[in-house]
Amino acid sequence: MNAHSPLPPPMAVLLELTHRCPLQCPYCSNPTNLEQAKGELTTAEWKSVLDQAAKLGVLQVHFSGGEPTVRQDLAELIRHAREVGLYTNLITSGVAASKARLDEMAAAGLDHVQLSIQDSEAETAEKIGNYAGAQAKKLEFARWVREAGLPLTVNAVVNRHNIDRVGAMIDLAVGLDAHRVEIANVQYYGWALRNLEALMPRFDQFEAATATVEAARQRLKGKIVIDYVVPDYYARVPKACMNGWGQRFMNVTPSGKVMPCHAAETIPDLEFDSVRERPLAEIWAKSSAFERFRGTDWMPDLCKGCDQREVDWGGCRCQAMALTGSASEADPACGLSPFHAKLRGMAEAASHAAAPDFEYRRIAPRATAKSDSRAPVG
């Protein structure tokens, strides 16, 4: 929308309750500068965020992280979210919560669980997450979810190490009695961009995986819903990232910073408001970070003159930043972008090079954290 049409309320909010996580996946969607536990919002502060979100018109809340179940107040937050009418979704690695705690969350009114897997094969899966024994825990957790009567989505992130097993990952999800499986190719910014060569699949692998997914969709119609996110590097049209910047979605970091997408911190000159300093409704309507790329006024001529401008909204701002050096360029995933050939070239080069070791996702040592400019939390 443009300045003259009214701003619709957001549909969903994702709460990064913490950046602590037992896994260290090299494509983690969290920022590379992870937040420390001591800065996390308190239970009362998260409840206030939930109250404000519901009042603003948010319909769904995603409890995420990091690993959200390391927060001991998670069931209490789920109960509160249900009390104010929100649809509650848990996005978890499944390695950190006991059956008793999951049952407590179910009793609190949890609507849905989204469980990540790193591969269908334990060895690769545990190498990607850098956590021995993770796979068995995940499969057990999935059983607990179904035993509790909760619907389950299995979320598989696809990269060069597991893409040839897309079919096996779908079968695994069916075997776990999942209602839905999300096959998402890695999105390359933040941690994943650091690990580009270690993760990028070849084009022929991507094509084979796409064919496998299409066949599975036909075969499993009515049995499981398969959502498939194609890799931008091999795409011709950009995704409607976040369904349009600042139009449907908010992301809240552990310390309360509110962002239009989880990767927005990769854009260096954006300033984010915190729920500790400003009401959520005001942030949605007026925060400079939300206003910056909302609608079509910010767009380059290439997008402004395109009939898809309110379909894909110019694609992903963070990817434009990472690949072109400017967040105001069209997403290079667009075939019309002057940077599209560069993007494709990067994918080809990375995917044909030998895969280097992962740079695992880790919270920076304290010495580094001290030098960052965030104000201490009192």
């Binding site: 309320p9 549909m11 969903a12 603003l56 018109g57 319909l59 769904q60 009418g85 649809y87 979704n89 609507d111 849905h112 989204q114 009567g149 909760l150 619907p151 989505t153 209602h179 839905r180 999300e182 119609k221 009515g222 049995k223 499981i224 819903v225 959502d227």
Partner: protein
Amino acid sequence: MSATTLDLEARPRLAPGVRLKYDETRSCWVVLAPERVLMPDETALEVLQRLDGKKTVDALVGELVAEYQADRGEIEADVTELLNGLLEKRVLAL
């Protein structure tokens, strides 16, 4: 066809994890499902509100025929198409 193909004796209901709710902010009914929000049109809403897992499709069609004094064949075709679509998306379960 798959196991979810509808017959008139089936008793569809909202699938686990799916809720129908009136949204005060937008002044409309919404279907809340995993990673999805659907805004049902008037017909879909009329059908969804009548589903309770006990009522058969046949009885549902009967209710709508009586309410709208419409042709049974037409209503039955519309309703089964709608229900099949929602079953495929797993918004409904049997």
